[in-house]
Symmetry: C2
């Protein structure tokens, strides 16, 4: 999946006449971590590989990774944004534990279908959606 993301990103950059720098390579590599991470966390990851990398570059590259479809941005309502790998993964939604903060992913086709038919009723064309179920996870109930 590193390969896949790499080629997606490279193609994206080429198409927009942007350059593949060593910093962008580092950030892409570190963005392949599993799970959900913040911009700050990603900066930390990257600094281990290249201590001179800057916050500004991480933010700027994050925008490109998002635009190219390599990463997906998630907003869990606590103010900051989290990112997760999007490449070659099925769409999913999230449970968010309001006690321990754990994030659990799930897929539910029937829900998606109902969303589509609801959209049809309103003559609305869905581009993307976000469904978050907040509450207590198994270990926090």
């Amino acid at each position: 999946m590193m390969r896949e993301a790499e080629s997606t990103f490279t193609t994206f950059l080429k198409k927009k006449d942007l350059k593949l720098t060593s910093q962008r390579r580092t950030i892409l590599r570190q963005a392949m971590h599993d799970g959900h991470f913040s911009a700050e966390k990603l900066l930390d990851f990257c600094k281990k590989e290249d201590p001179t990398i800057s916050k500004a570059t991480v933010y700027r590259t994050l925008a490109l990774l998002k635009e190219s479809g390599v990463l997906e941005e998630q907003d869990f309502g606590d103010g900051r944004k989290l990112y997760e790998r999007a490449q070659g993964r099925k769409h999913h939604d999230h449970f968010v534990c309001i006690k321990c903060g754990k994030i659990i992913e799930f897929e539910n086709e029937p829900i998606e279908r109902l969303q589509d038919s609801e959209a049809k009723k309103h003559h609305f064309k869905i581009v993307y959606h976000s469904l978050k179920l907040f509450g207590f996870c198994k270990s926090c109930v």
Copy 2:
């Protein structure tokens, strides 16, 4: 519905040994506007009624209105939070037009039921949820 919100809020304050000030009265009154508004917008509304009211007080009161259940907070992902009346309204979710910014509300019982059964599968206890469908509205397609 002003009456209903007023009594909910008054009761809430009393229970917590908090005081009903003229500023809180103003903010409650202005928070009854229809639709979705930001903290800043609410401050503007309030300033028309009482020009000396401060940003800090609006933010502090907004937290109380949320806690008391008079208002509901919505996060539409553009960084800031919007508020809407919650008193005596049925739960609903939102379409958000990514072109014109229009917000359309909808109710869909079957979706809620599927969420509950999904939660059961994961031994998760849902407290609240947020479903936002982003895309193009009828006039922006």
